[in-house]
């Protein structure tokens, strides 16, 4: 069966299972069954095609993009992100680095980039590109650096943001993600300050999500978390979104990259 047909059937069979518990159990079985052939792989293939396509004003591909290990080096690149980049003089995560390369190599302007991850029509291209680049580090251990002063500053800002309570619900990231072995309704919560738990989840993004039947990136997921925490719309590639990843990556360092993960 070709991948598209398979994806379609899987989506059909899963979506009507509205009960959270059933969905959770389905995802577990599903993850097992699809270890070698996740529907997320389809998005990796689509991402590779897009990565190699000449696009933009400069009619160039992204093949010369430098993700930190040199132009065009993809193997292991995602395992050392987020990190400081001298050419932009800032700390970038996978997705903001993709935007930098699209600006520099392909000549794209700001209006080509999503304003926010959640439901922006420009997101699917970034989801595909991100999952393709990330998958080239599969099997490697996350080793995000914390050496450059801007990396250290981003870490400290991310740490403060993690504990920053605000809004109608008084929530911070820590409200849910400092809890050990707890859940919201039937959704298990990862204790993200605990390396044992952070290592198991952080390096599995971008991930294939069963309910929407799509690949979501960490930027997507952070935006959804903030939405549920009664916060405003997180800007795509914003400083807060990168700083939080720098903070979380230090907890997740040592975890093995396994992209695309499969989530509910």
């Amino acid at each position: 069966m070709n991948r598209l047909a398979f994806l379609f059937l899987v989506t059909l069979s899963v979506v009507p299972a509205v009960a959270d518990e059933r969905l959770e159990a389905t995802v577990r079985q599903y993850r097992e069954a699809l270890k070698d052939a996740s529907p997320g792989e389809l998005f990796v293939d689509l991402g590779e095609e897009l990565f190699r396509t000449k696009r933009g004003l400069k009619h160039a591909s992204l093949e010369a993009c430098d993700f930190g290990l040199g132009p065009g080096v993809l193997a292991g690149a995602h395992a050392q992100l987020p990190r400081y980049f001298a050419d932009t003089d800032r700390v970038e995560d996978l997705e903001s680095r993709l935007m930098s390369c699209m600006r520099q190599l392909q000549g794209f302007s700001e209006d080509a980039f999503p304003h926010h991850a959640r439901s922006d029509p420009r997101m699917p291209d970034f989801e595909r590109l991100a999952v393709y680049v990330a998958a080239q580090s599969n099997g490697m251990k996350l080793a995000a650096p914390l050496a450059h002063p801007k990396e250290v500053e981003a870490f400290r800002i991310g740490e403060r943001l993690f504990y920053r309570r605000a809004g109608a619900y008084d929530f911070s990231c820590a409200t849910c993600h400092m809890q050990q072995g707890k859940r919201i309704r039937l959704q298990q919560l990862a204790q993200l300050t605990n390396p044992g738990e952070a290592q198991g989840v952080f390096p599995t993004w971008p991930a294939y999500r069963v309910a929407p039947g799509a690949v979501h990136t960490l930027q997507d997921w952070l935006a959804i978390c903030y939405w549920a925490a009664r916060h405003p719309q997180l800007r795509y590639g914003s400083e807060a979104s990168i700083a939080l990843q720098v903070f979380l990556a230090q907890s997740a360092n040592g975890g093995v990259i396994a992209v695309p993960g499969v989530k509910r």
Binding site: A166, A168, C176, K182, Q187, Q233, S241
Partner: protein, 202 residues
């Protein structure tokens, strides 16, 4: 009362001045936060961009304020509680409110329904609802465990209205204080907890 005032005075004296590097970092973080969010409902932007004093202190102390400060927070939160005409509403209405997570998300504006309390997200309540969270304690059999009198009703009301009147920097949203639920809606939740016929007491 005198003892409380003395405690407050001691707490104020004992509070350490922040280290100078911390102030700059706090300012940088606030600037980053404000620059990183946009769109959706303006009131959500304002409420999250500007923390209230309790949110700011709980963030600063990572939800573990020193004892003196905790006492100040609890005292101030308790003094701000407002009450409805009747503490006990209708438990069936309460069950609906406990189920609903509507309200406060930027996609919930303009409002299309009344806000819910989202109680099942964190608490076990009615025996027949299996999709409950475990961040908060189970409330199954609440009436039996806590008593049925007016004092228990008042306590339940106050805890839902503002849990930080009891535990400073508690994880539970201050539903009444923050205007997520009205005093009348909270009275429906009190009935859910304390009506002998309600789904969690039967």
């Amino acid at each position: 009362m005198k003892r409380a005032a003395l405690g407050i005075a001691i707490a104020l004296l004992a509070m350490p001045a922040p280290a100078p590097g911390q102030d700059a970092l706090a300012e940088r973080t606030e600037a980053a936060f404000i620059a990183s969010f946009a769109g959706g409902e303006p009131s959500v932007l304002i409420r999250t961009g500007l923390q209230d004093e309790v949110q700011r202190l709980c963030s600063e102390h990572r939800n573990a304020p020193p004892a003196g400060l905790a006492q100040l927070i609890e005292g101030a939160q308790r003094a701000a509680i407002r009450y409805p005409a009747k503490l006990m509403g209708d438990w069936k209405n309460g069950e609906k409110l406990a189920q609903s997570g509507y309200g406060g998300r930027f996609t919930d504006y303009p409002p299309r329904a009344e806000n819910g309390g989202n109680c099942y997200a964190c608490h076990q309540i009615a025996r027949e609802e299996l999709a409950y969270g475990t961040v908060g304690p189970s409330l199954l059999g609440y009436g039996k465990a806590r008593g049925w009198g007016v004092a228990a009703q008042r306590l339940a009301y106050e805890r839902i209205y503002n849990s930080q009147a009891f535990t400073a920097c508690s994880a539970m949203p201050r539903f009444g204080h923050n205007g997520v639920l009205t005093p009348e809606q909270i009275a429906h939740l009190v009935a859910l907890l304390l009506d002998p016929g309600s789904s969690l007491n039967r």
